[in-house]
Structures are given as structure tokens and as C-alpha cells.
């Protein structure tokens, strides 16, 4: 793809990039998306030798607002521990890029976007997308932003899947990689939980076969249930117990099905606030992309073979001891494949009772490890 002639400061800060008609996104499923739009945010400036760019890949329910207020919720960015002044990724030193994935609902082309062929929202006519498609679109955006090689590609959970895909598809375009609380493929249990979420959405009468936008409704109840089920998988039993135990909402039981327990009202709140910022069909498509993700499968069933072109990349993989969604064994599987491929990998299991979400939370050991890794990778790259 020819680099687009763009001046970086124009794009700095972010917006939506619409790719020209002669640059369609070619999908793993065989389809194409013409006039692809990718919404993104940037922080900091690209340096003179274009060596300080960092791509942050977001998780399933996140978006491009990694370090700036979310336009819907007003909450500050979702990864303040990693990105910000004085943080391991600092806009004063790094050119930080975060884009909304293809299929998402925060400005990138997704099932809620208008299908140019019909003039109506895609709905289920949106093509099935993969993690590979998301990464291909990111690579096009990175090129459009004038960046050839990224100093680092960083992500947790689904973001960590994208980082692995980058290492498979574009290893020559990156010098270091951070993979947190992730896996090289979904287990049957992962797929099972996602299926519960999808079925909840599709069972909502307001889903209308995916064409709810045409009817001016939204399957809010189904999406909220999907979020509630998923949210449990992001936490750990000890964390839930510590936060809520069996504490009641009020004096005594309702002898009915109101939210008697605090954990019930917490989950209801998680579900209802999620529907304000997320699209139900996007949830279907992105969870499907995660279920289909299987790097080894496309490399003769041997994960190490997938990473052989990434030998020069420095990797940092971190898992969390109480993460039962992407447990340490799944992360270690990735590390062993990287090692067997001859790549330079650092790996630690961080002791935490916060479950899968630990990578977004207060974990000083993780902070120190990431800071050390990124600082050393910066020295390798000649940034400091």
C-alpha cells in the first residue's frame, strides 16, 4: 500500500480516517469493505526519525479513548496507569496511536454503519470480521499516519490477540510488543461464555434479526445480560467476595426478584451502563472474531511457526494469577512458542486476586515490569 501523503500534525489528536476507494479492506472471510473508516486518537508527536510511535490495541469493550475522556460516559481514558505524563507511555516522548477496531461502534466501520449498497445500516449484512482484519486496518491507519515501524505494539486481552497478530503479519513493522492477560486462541469455555452473551442479545425481541436500527429500537435487555455474564468472567471469586460478599441492598429480603444482594445491583448497573456506550451487533461481531482467532491453526498447528519472522521483536508477556478467563497456562503457551521461535520474550505471572481485569487496575508489580520493559526497549531502539 502506498503511504498516503499526510502531514502528521493535521491528524494529531485523532478523528476518523476514511480510506480511499482504491484501498478497500480485504477480509479473511473473502469479502471487502470499501471506503473503510477507522476512528482513532493520537497523543504526542511523531519524532523526526519516526521511531517513537506506539500502537495500543484495545480490548473487546474498550475503544480509542485510551487517555482522553470518553464522549459518551465522560470518564477519563481507560488505561491511565500506562498512558499519560510521567507514565511508561508518555505523550512527551511517544507518539501514541489507539484506534477503534473494525466492527466496533465508536466511529470505525461496523454493523451500525451505513451500508453504501443499501443506504441503511449494515446490521447482519456486515461481513464477519477477524482479529486479522482488525490488525490489517490498523496497519493501514499506521501507514496513513506516516509511521513505517512502531516502537511498540501494546494490548491486553483482545488487544493482546491483536499484538500477536501484528507479530505474525507485520513483524518487520514493530520492534517491541506487550501482551497482557491474553491467549493465542479461545478455549471451549471462552467460546461458551461468548455464546451465552450472543444468545442473550439474539433472544431479545428488540433485536429484530439484527435490523433493530431500522425499527428504531435497541436490544438493551439482551446486551445488558451479555455484559453481566461477561463481567463475571472479568473478575475473580475472591474479588467479588471481597467487594460484595452476601451483603444486602436494604434491610431484609424482598421475598421477590428485586436486586436484594449488592452484587446483583452491581451487575445490573454494569449491564445498563454498558448499553449506553456499546452496540449489540458490534458485540456479536467482535466476540465472533475472538472465537475465530487461532494463530497456530493457520501455521500448521504449531504456534512457534507463526512467530518465526518475529525473532527480532522484544516481547513482554504478563499474566495474572487469578485470571480464569485467560489463565497463566494460556499466556505461558504463547511465551513458550515465542521462545521456541527464538524471540526474546520476558514473562511473569503477577500475583493478584483481581481476575482478568487486573491489567487495567492498580497492580504496582505490573507497572514496574512494564516500565522496566519499555525503558529497556526504548534504549534498544535508540530513543533515549
Amino acid at each position: 500500500m502506498a503511504a498516503l501523503d499526510l502531514v502528521t500534525p493535521v491528524l494529531s489528536g485523532g478523528g476518523t480516517w476514511r480510506f480511499p476507494a482504491n484501498e478497500p479492506l480485504r477480509l479473511d472471510s473473502g469479502g471487502v469493505i470499501e471506503g473503510l473508516e477507522v476512528a482513532y486518537q493520537t497523543y504526542g508527536q511523531l519524532n523526526a526519525d519516526k521511531s517513537n510511535a506506539v500502537l495500543i490495541c484495545h480490548a473487546l469493550t474498550m475503544d480509542q479513548y485510551v487517555a482522553s475522556p470518553h464522549p459518551t460516559t465522560g470518564k477519563p481514558g481507560w488505561w491511565p496507569r500506562l498512558v499519560g505524563p510521567g507514565k511508561p507511555l508518555d505523550p512527551a516522548r511517544h507518539f501514541i496511536i489507539c484506534s477503534n477496531v473494525v466492527g466496533g461502534c465508536m466511529g470505525s466501520t461496523g454493523p451500525a454503519s451505513t451500508n453504501p449498497a443499501t443506504g441503511r445500516p449494515y446490521g447482519l449484512s456486515f461481513p464477519v470480521i477477524t482479529i486479522g482484519d482488525m490488525v490489517r486496518a490498523q496497519a493501514m491507519l499506521v501507514t496513513a499516519l506516516g509511521v513505517d515501524t512502531l516502537f511498540a505494539v501494546v494490548g491486553g486481552s483482545m488487544g493482546g490477540m491483536q499484538v500477536q497478530q501484528w507479530a505474525v503479519d507485520y513483524p518487520e513493522r514493530m520492534s517491541s510488543a506487550v501482551i497482557l492477560a491474553s491467549a493465542s486462541r479461545h478455549s471451549a469455555q471462552n467460546i461458551a461464555f461468548h455464546e451465552v452473551g450472543r444468545q442473550a442479545i439474539m433472544a431479545d425481541p428488540d433485536w429484530r434479526g439484527g435490523a433493530y436500527a431500522d425499527h428504531g429500537v435497541r436490544p438493551e435487555k439482551g446486551l445488558a445480560v451479555a455484559r453481566m455474564a461477561a463481567h463475571i468472567t472479568y473478575l475473580s471469586e475472591p474479588a467479588l467476595q471481597r467487594k460484595f460478599g452476601r451483603e444486602l441492598q436494604r434491610d431484609g429480603l424482598s421475598w421477590g426478584f428485586d436486586a436484594d444482594f449488592q452484587v446483583e445491583s452491581y451487575l445490573r448497573h454494569q449491564g445498563s451502563s454498558f448499553v449506553d456506550r456499546f452496540d449489540a451487533n458490534s458485540y456479536l461481531y467482535i466476540t465472533r472474531a475472538m472465537d475465530y482467532f487461532d494463530i497456530a491453526a493457520s501455521h500448521g498447528g504449531v504456534l512457534a511457526n507463526a512467530f518465526t519472522r518475529a525473532r527480532h521483536v522484544r516481547f513482554c508477556v504478563l499474566s495474572f494469577s487469578s485470571d480464569w478467563l485467560y489463565p497463566t497456562a494460556e499466556n505461558r503457551h504463547v511465551v513458550r512458542a515465542l521462545t521456541a521461535a527464538g524471540a526474546r520474550a520476558a514473562f511473569a505471572e503477577i500475583e493478584s486476586d483481581k481476575g482478568h481485569d487486573a491489567f487495567l487496575l492498580d497492580e504496582p508489580v505490573m507497572d514496574a515490569a512494564l516500565e522496566g520493559f519499555l525503558a529497556s526497549a526504548e534504549r534498544d531502539r535508540g530513543l533515549v
Binding site: 513458550r336 526474546r344 520476558a346 514473562f347 511473569a348 503477577i350 514496574a368 515490569a369
Partner: protein, 222 residues
């Protein structure tokens, strides 16, 4: 083992390792040796460490260290991916020392191995006179809390290297707080007097890329 012994151990390893080479330190702890190798010998230093706190400390220092177990994780490294594999005071704590030693010389051209010699006179004396498991400077913990499960003597180790068809490229001994001294590993006397032993080993038949180390001084200075 005391810090002084570790320091002498590291000093000897630093002397043996070629500048700019690729080194894997198995059981690297908080990365003290890796840090020395990286800064004093410009080594491409990597580590394998069992403890989470050790790995986290290494990462915070910017070292490439994988949390893992020598008994299980050496298998995942490709053949000859390192110039040296270091096993400092760890062999006796592995479940499968023979396998670990064999693996070290699959993934690296040279293995640098140090271990406390159970044939040292203090150990023999302690066992003979008191009839108790020895607690010495090199073996400081009581039997029920020591991580060491496969202790051996210098003579035992030499028998294992012969069994694995390994060549001794360098050997050194440490006693008390003294500096390293070269030793003849076949000598019965050394099996009495060496508190801690250190070897550089290679496979018989693999050509040495450097000459054997002289008795003292930095091999690679000048």
C-alpha cells in the same frame, strides 16, 4: 551459600564469558549476574527464573527473563540458541539434574555450572562426627528447608560429565571467602578441599571457538 561466594562465582563467570555473546542464566534470581553480564560484557542476557518476585525484579531492571522451571522450560528453547547457558548454584535444586545438564548443552555451546561440593571436608566431617546433615557456608539451611534435593560431590559430577560425554573446558574452586582458584577436577584432594565448584563444559566433538582460559585475569582484556 554466602554473598561473598556468589560474588566470586559471578566474577569467575564474567571472566569466562566472551563479550557480546548470548547468555541464558537459568535460575537467575533478581538478575544480578545478568545485569553484570549486560553492562560489563555487552552480553545479550536472558534469564529463566522460578520465583515471580525474582522475575518482576528482573523486568523492572529491563532484563528479558521468563518465569519458568529449569526442569520443564529448557525444552522450549531451540538448539544452540545461546553461546553460554549458566546454571549458578541451581543444579542441586533441580528434579532432573542429568536432563537439565544435557539440555543446557543442547541450547548452548557451553554450559557454566556451579554447585556446592558435598565431598568438601566440612561436609564429610559434619556427617561423620555429628551424624547430622551438614550445615555449612555453602549449604546453610537445615535439611528440612533446603531447596537442594540432588546434592553431589565433585567426583559424582565428574562421573556425570563422563556419562554425558562432556568436556571440561575450565574448572575452578572456591572455599570460604577466598577468590576462585583453578583446580584439577580429577584430583581426589580437590574433592576434599573445594567448597564450591564451577565448570565450563562443552560437548566432546563441538569445536571450541576460544582457547581454554588462562589461570587468572580477564580472558578478554586486551
Amino acid at each position: 551459600m554466602t554473598n561473598t561466594v556468589i560474588r566470586e562465582d559471578f566474577r569467575e563467570i564474567l571472566r569466562l564469558v566472551r563479550p557480546g555473546s548470548r547468555v541464558l542464566d537459568v535460575g537467575c534470581g533478581e538478575g544480578a549476574l545478568l545485569d553484570l553480564l549486560a553492562h560489563e560484557k555487552q552480553v545479550d542476557a536472558r534469564g529463566l527464573e522460578l520465583s515471580a518476585s525474582g522475575v518482576a525484579a528482573c523486568m523492572a531492571r529491563g532484563l528479558s527473563v521468563v518465569q519458568g522451571d529449569a526442569d520443564l522450560d529448557l525444552d522450549h528453547f531451540p538448539d544452540r540458541s545461546f553461546d553460554y547457558a549458566v546454571l549458578s548454584q541451581t543444579l542441586q535444586a533441580t528434579r532432573k539434574p542429568r536432563h537439565v545438564l544435557d539440555e543446557l548443552l543442547r541450547i548452548a555451546d557451553r554450559a557454566i555450572v556451579s554447585f556446592p561440593n558435598f565431598g568438601h571436608w566440612r561436609v564429610r566431617w559434619s556427617l561423620l562426627s555429628r551424624g547430622r546433615m551438614p550445615e555449612t557456608k555453602a549449604l546453610p539451611l537445615p535439611w528440612w528447608s533446603t531447596p537442594n534435593i540432588h546434592l553431589c560431590t565433585l567426583a559424582d559430577f565428574m562421573a556425570l560429565t563422563a556419562d554425558l560425554n562432556l568436556r571440561v573446558d575450565a574448572s575452578a574452586a572456591f572455599a570460604g571467602q577466598g577468590p576462585a582458584r583453578s583446580m584439577d577436577p580429577a584430583s581426589a584432594l580437590e574433592n576434599w578441599r573445594s567448597e564450591t565448584c564451577l565448570f565450563m563444559l562443552s560437548r566432546n566433538g563441538v569445536p571450541a571457538s576460544k582457547e581454554l582460559p588462562p589461570a587468572s585475569g580477564d580472558l578478554f582484556d586486551g
